[in-house]
Symmetry: C2
Subunit: 454 residues, 2 copies
């Protein structure tokens, strides 16, 4: 067994940015901010703006090597109207980037913001309101500069930067880094809070071994900052992991984390602690998927639905999952058995895939009717002439609506089952095409299976 | 809809023995009893015997036409040893029948008794002890003469003979008449008590509509005979129907009735009351079986096991059922799905039959391991390398032990699964042969099925 310290040292050599890289990035950030200030002054808009700050992991020195993201937040005064916010950022943001020799364009989230590229650096210039700690937000991203303040302040006295990098890299390796709705994993900020709370990367993994569903974490700093008692009543959340946000106690930083990924973290942490190895940090989830792929398979089926590429993953993934869940319900009602299912989208299309343990059935089904004690058995037997008594109920042999899953999927794409399944706006099964013997796996891409005479 | 009175009159015309038939039977019974008395006197054994009585439905005038059974009980004094009982009955019983021009032989139950045939009459001469009401039995059949006394006494003032005949015929028609371990239905005595309790055939069917599992019935006569209060604490039984025996309050006359047949009675009673028809009284169960047989089928399989013809149904049937239950458990563990199963035995062989909804599966199975929170996940993943996380547990894809039911049955008859299933003494799967595409139905005899390309 390799020594855990050696492993972590090796990984760190790989993931900590070199000093000159950090210096270069810092310099560019400063120049963008200066440029923004002078453009705002030029436009005579300085009264609207409180300050301009660099945020994100590159600002707090917790980013991984080869992360060239520069996030600049322009904080407006609370009174400023949203329209003005928007106009201002579009006016000065694009010019700032282009004055520094880059390209820029406009992106859209809750409100528009400016994105751009200068050399290898990816720049976001985002407007928000300057709010105080534990104060309600006005626009969705108002907390971000506060997160930055909090983490930077704590890390000044506790140099945990590299432990945070290790946790991020470990989570990336096992495929659960990112709080987007596709990944449903750990955000960068959540990694920072966990390492701050447990004191190191290794201690975070060790402490996760005691986690249970609904685990609650309150950082010591929260008690200090807010001067509240240990018996303070924090709000309840129905999430597998609850980490109270030091800048807003009504918010769970781990809200996006799925139950499954919560469990994966506990499990792979234990695996790593018991058998330390570099491989967990490097695309380990692909190895897992590959290892799982060497096995016999049930019948495979993929439903491919054209994608409007202007709709982002954060909208597409929840809709794919919603559609798959509603189809699964129908499959189970029809006595088919699902071994495995998954959603995946690339730029052109959505892929909803299934592997079946049971995908075809004889044309007979036992329909369970009322208990024999019930006076309405007469209605049941009138409708179903092949009745008999089983388990104190009238039952009947009836014909099946679907003898195989393919028939059922044909009726899904033709719209015959419109009232039985969801039709999400951007992932409509009516645009679907059915592919037999194909499963599109998120990591392994397409799996083709030769159905061996089952 | 036919008038219910007309139907019952027609059925009664069919099932009530003619007066001259009853007279002839009564005369023969009397002659057998007289012959037995004189032979006992001849042998000088009169001190051992209390009395000789005719019992059974022919004695109480509740038998169906074409029932030519004459049951004679020789009641010995309590002190007499079992050996003497046995010797005496063999000595005088066979001679009595043969003196009257019949053939006789010895049958074996708890102790031997004499059977014989005189013309069309089937005669049993059975020894027992004379016991008092609500007294413990010494040999298994000691209660029978008391049942006779009770029913005859009650029917003297309530002429319900033909209502009892109707109930018996109705139960025969729907296939649940008889308390043997193959039928698990209603005994003749139980029919008598029910009609006595509810006052008529139709009232019995009507009252059954209010029955629930665990229904308790205490005849009014019990309170009169024993002088007990309505709040008397009768013993509890875990049976679907409890009818306290007027001659022994610790006994449930309906003990042999299965849950399924209890339910069938309630259900078919309602069917009959709502749509009266003669057909319920005449092999209705065969019509039910035939109606059910016109449908598509799953894969069929029959296990045929040679039968030692000297072993009676009351031993063979429970053993077949026990074996089938233990095989079913194994089938379900291996993810196969049973649509229907049944046991049937003729003189040569036992037939255990199955119809499957799912009978073959791809060679992959999800094995569910410990929760991720459990420290022993390490052992599981060492054993099962294709592991993954699902529903907070470590799971793994593993190969199947059995890809189809035929492989599993091969291992059953070869003895490889000896430790996993029961091996009843007279129905051993080691002597089994497997037949594909065949189902042996109790009523329909053999069903062959052409598996249509599933």
């Amino acid at each position: 067994m390799e020594d855990i310290k050696d492993i972590l040292r090796e990984v760190l050599e790989d993931i900590v940015p070199r000093d000159w890289e950090k210096e270069k990035l810092k310099r560019l950030s400063r120049r963008i901010i200066e440029e923004l200030y002078s453009l705002i002054q030029e436009e005579g808009l300085e009264d609207l703006v409180e300050d301009i700050v660099q945020v994100g992991s590159t600002a707090r020195d917790t980013h991984l090597r080869n992360d060239y993201d520069i996030d600049i937040f322009v904080r407006f005064k609370k009174g400023v109207e949203r329209e003005v916010l928007k106009e201002t950022i579009l006016k000065v943001g694009r010019r700032a980037i282009e004055n520094l020799g880059g390209n820029s364009w406009v992106e859209y989230a809750e409100h528009p913001y400016v994105s751009g590229r200068i050399g290898r650096y990816e720049i976001d210039i985002v407007p928000c309101y300057k709010i105080g700690w534990n104060e309600g937000i006005i626009s969705a991203v108002d907390r971000t500069p506060l997160h930055n303040e909090f983490v930077k302040r704590v890390l000044k006295s506790k140099p945990l930067h590299n432990d945070i990098r290790l946790l991020k890299k470990f989570l990336k390796g096992i495929g659960i880094y990112g709080s987007d709705l596709k990944t449903k994993g750990f955000s960068g900020y959540l990694c920072e809070l966990l390492v701050i709370h447990y004191g190191s990367f290794i201690n975070t993994l060790k402490n996760a071994q005691r986690w249970k569903i609904g685990e609650k974490i309150v950082l010591d700093e929260i008690f200090e900052i807010y001067g509240i008692d240990r018996d303070y009543k924090f709000p309840e959340f129905d999430h597998p992991l609850v980490v109270y946000d030091p800048v807003d106690l009504k918010r769970n930083v781990a809200a996006a984390l799925s139950r499954e990924n919560f469990c994966k973290f506990i499990f792979y942490s234990r695996q790593f602690l018991e058998n330390p190895s570099r491989e967990y940090f490097y695309n380990y989830h692909r190895k897992v998927a590959e290892r799982l792929s060497h096995r016999d398979r049930g019948a495979l089926l993929t439903l491919r639905i054209d994608r409007d590429s202007s709709i982002v993953d954060d909208i597409i993934y929840p809709q794919m999952e919603k559609l798959q869940r509603s189809i699964n319900k129908l499959l189970i009602e029809n006595d088919f058995q699902i071994l495995n299912c998954e959603v995946y989208a690339n730029e052109e299309a959505c892929y909803l895939s299934w592997e079946f343990l049971v995908w075809e059935l004889p044309n007979v089904k036992v329909k369970v009717g009322p208990p024999v004690f019930n006076r309405r058995t007469g209605d049941f037997v009138k409708k179903h002439p092949r009745y008999f008594i089983r388990d104190c109920r009238v039952c009947a042999y009836v014909e099946r609506r679907y003898r195989d899953v393919y028939q059922l999927f044909e009726d899904i794409v033709s719209g015959k089952l419109k009232n039985r399944i969801k039709h999400p706006k951007y992932v409509s099964p009516l645009n679907g095409r059915i592919y037999r013997d194909i499963f599109v796996d998120r990591y392994m891409s397409i799996v083709k299976y030769q159905n061996k005479g089952v």
